[in-house]
């Protein structure tokens, strides 16, 4: 029992927790931006697959790592443009379109993978991002290595949260994004195009989702596998609700979730096969549902979420 408790005080546990949190942070911030603008993006799971592949493949072809991140982001933005076009001016069901984008993005990725690498049996590896220890800060016991001995992409994830929070609450663009998600006709009355703001938000959000996918192939691991996103996109959607559509709260949710995930892996090793391993693998998904139930009652959705905006309607 004490053994199970001591895990919480080891540096390696917290290092793993932050590493697991990083892709979720990108994906959660991406979904948060979309939903704050009033557009549910169920394309997230497929966009993460596309980002994971495109970033990794760019590096595999000789591009440098940051070019890979940029290519992943652009791939994500492209699928975001498609989702935005179909759901905003055309006003199609955001549920159906999102599932369609996920199916399209993942199947296109698998198709492309098979075309570009027809003969491979085990996926080729790249040289991924390496941990970079921030001087002084990384020497703090336990938390130092966890927070400040990570790869540059994890630092980018921290920066993203700060940037998204700043953008949403401190800039005119953020005001417009939040307003189109709450009261679009008021925005239109100001002479700002609801369509443009929403599509822009979905593209930016989708770019972040794709970077979240790329984290897996370019930082956490070093090659691309089918099924490697494995529901992380859906978990990000749950985290947005859990975080009440606020970047700070969503960040805390992602880290708590990742800590739990890292913990169950270690607990699995301690219990040594008495409990079926599937029970442990189920826990993150069960936890997401429980978290949704707990927060659902006091959740304050963006008022125009999932409601297409038509000019002249009120």
């Amino acid at each position: 029992m004490t053994e199970a408790f001591e895990i919480l005080f080891t540096a390696s546990f917290w290092v793993a927790a932050i590493r697991i949190a990083s892709p979720l942070i990108f994906a959660t911030m991406g979904e948060l931006i979309c939903e704050r603008a009033g557009v549910l993006n169920l394309g997230i799971e497929g966009i993460m697959v596309a980002g994971a592949f495109s970033g990794w493949f760019t590096v595999y072809m000789g591009g440098d790592l940051w070019t890979g991140v940029l290519v992943a982001a652009m791939t994500g933005a492209l699928f975001g443009l498609l989702h935005g076009f179909l759901t905003v001016p055309l006003g199609l069901s955001q549920h159906v379109t999102g599932i369609g984008i996920t199916l399209l993005a993942s199947s296109l990725t698998y198709f492309t993978y098979r075309i570009l690498l027809p003969e491979v049996t085990s996926p080729p590896k790249i040289e991924p991002f390496q941990p970079f220890a921030v001087p002084v800060l990384s020497d703090i016991p336990v938390l130092g290595p966890a927070l400040f001995n990570q790869t540059p992409l994890t630092y980018l994830a921290y920066l993203t949260v700060a940037a998204v929070a700043f953008m949403l609450y401190r800039t005119p663009v953020g005001v417009a994004v939040r307003a189109v998600g709450e009261n679009p006709s008021a925005v239109e009355a100001q002479g700002i195009s609801v369509t443009a703001v929403r599509i822009g938000a979905v593209m930016a959000g989708s770019a972040l989702m794709a970077i979240g996918g790329a984290f897996l192939t370019m930082s956490a691991f070093n090659s691309f596998f089918f099924e490697m996103i494995n529901g992380r996109g859906w978990i990000a959607i749950a985290l947005v609700v859990f975080g009440s559509w606020r970047p700070g709260k969503a960040l805390i949710g992602a880290i708590l979730f990742a800590a739990f995930d890292a913990y169950q892996v270690r607990l699995q090793q301690i219990t040594g096969g008495v409990i079926p391993y599937q029970i442990f693998l189920m826990m993150p998904f069960v936890l997401s549902i429980v978290a949704l139930v707990v927060v659902a009652r006091r959740a304050t959705y963006p008022k125009a979420l999932m409601i297409p905006y038509q000019k002249g309607e009120r």
Binding site: H95, V96, G231, P276, F285, I289, V293
Partner: protein
């Protein structure tokens, strides 16, 4: 640009927009085929031949369409009432689990008793699996999209646990698979020596029954009313939450029948690859059918044909069979757009 409802949809529009959707899908997949280094005409010809070019191909397409009719119906019913059931995959697997639990010798009855018993039990399992998210939606306001999606992962892990534990076939050489169902629990083949089985007939009958429920019963009327405008339905005295619960039971039960029919009719046992995403493809089928239960039959056969045809094509042409998934996803997006444009006119400024 914005959309303006059309006063009436002209006959030409109801044909031209969907035709445009199909054309767009064909053009897009042609580009991909050319990128893969093959000729689109050859590839489409091979897909068509592989889907319907021989008795074998045609029967194979109908066999593949069977689970898709069930999951397509499950989605069509749920979406009609705006219950976003993305969990047909989980309900399918739970139906299959129940089929194996009762059908591998635990209950011994003649076929005439055993098969209906297993069907009912499987439907009940799938129904209850969707009732959970439906109650979370109506009681706690938890979005059912997320809960049903997450349940897909939970159920698949649960099945994996069963197949390595209590349901494991001791003679399976260590593979995670269940025992085979006994002869009395098997659905008969429709043609001796061929794979098409009685599950296809059950699927067609189910589609007709669902059509009758949707068009001719009070429940069907209430489901459409709830889907059209839940607030107005509540105001009109329709018990919205109970209608959603009933919808969930019906939808989950239908999806579970897909699992039942795959195990009892085709595979004979349960493995972790029983369904290559039939639950998700059911969404495409339902949308292509515009949520019409009878249309689901045609849409399921069309989608199954693409999959079966692409499998056959990829064996002879050098194009990955993932082209089928791309075509199906593209046709979903273009078709929902076409349906919207059929009903609304685009205005530019």
């Amino acid at each position: 640009m914005w959309l303006e409802p059309r006063a009436s949809t002209s006959g030409a529009a109801t044909i031209l927009w969907p035709a445009g959707a199909i054309l767009a899908t064909v053009v897009f997949s042609s580009v991909l085929v050319m990128i893969a280094g093959a000729s689109p005409l050859t590839v489409f010809w091979l897909v068509a031949k592989g889907a319907a070019g021989s008795q074998f191909a045609l029967l194979e397409t109908l066999t593949r369409a069977t689970p898709l009719i069930f999951t397509g119906l499950a989605v069509a019913v749920a979406f009609r009432a705006r219950l976003w059931n993305i969990g047909a995959e989980a309900q399918l697997y739970l139906g299959a689990v129940m089929t194996v639990v009762l059908g591998t010798g635990a209950v011994t009855l003649p076929s005439a008793g055993l098969i209906p018993l297993i069907m009912l039990a499987a439907m009940l399992t799938g129904a209850l699996a969707l009732l959970g998210p439906a109650i979370l939606k109506t009681r706690f306001g938890v979005d059912e999209v997320v809960t049903t999606l997450l349940l897909n992962f939970i159920v698949l892990l649960f099945v994996s646990m069963l197949l390595e534990g209590p349901l494991k076939d001791p003679t399976g050489l260590g593979w995670p698979q269940s025992k085979r169902v006994i002869a009395e629990a098997q659905l008969p083949r429709l043609i001796k020596g061929k794979r098409l089985h009685f599950g296809f007939v059950l699927a067609i009958v189910s589609a007709v029954i669902v059509w009758v429920i949707m068009k001719k019963t009070v429940l069907g009327y209430e489901m459409r009313a709830v889907g059209h405008n839940a607030e107005a339905a509540r105001f009109a005295g329709i018990p919205v939450n109970r209608v959603i619960a009933k919808t969930a039971l019906l939808s989950g039960g239908l999806a579970a029948l897909a699992g039942f029919s795959e195990v009892a009719g085709l595979k004979g046992n349960l493995t972790l690859d029983l369904s290559p995403g039939y639950g998700y493809t059911g969404i495409v089928v339902a949308m292509l059918a515009m949520l019409n239960p009878l249309g689901v039959i045609a849409a399921a056969i069309f989608v199954a044909g693409i999959f079966v045809g692409a499998d056959a094509m990829s064996r002879s042409a050098n194009v990955p069979s993932y082209i089928a998934e791309v075509m199906v996803a593209t046709s979903l997006l273009t078709m929902v757009a076409a349906i919207m444009l059929m009903r609304y006119r685009v205005r530019w400024r």
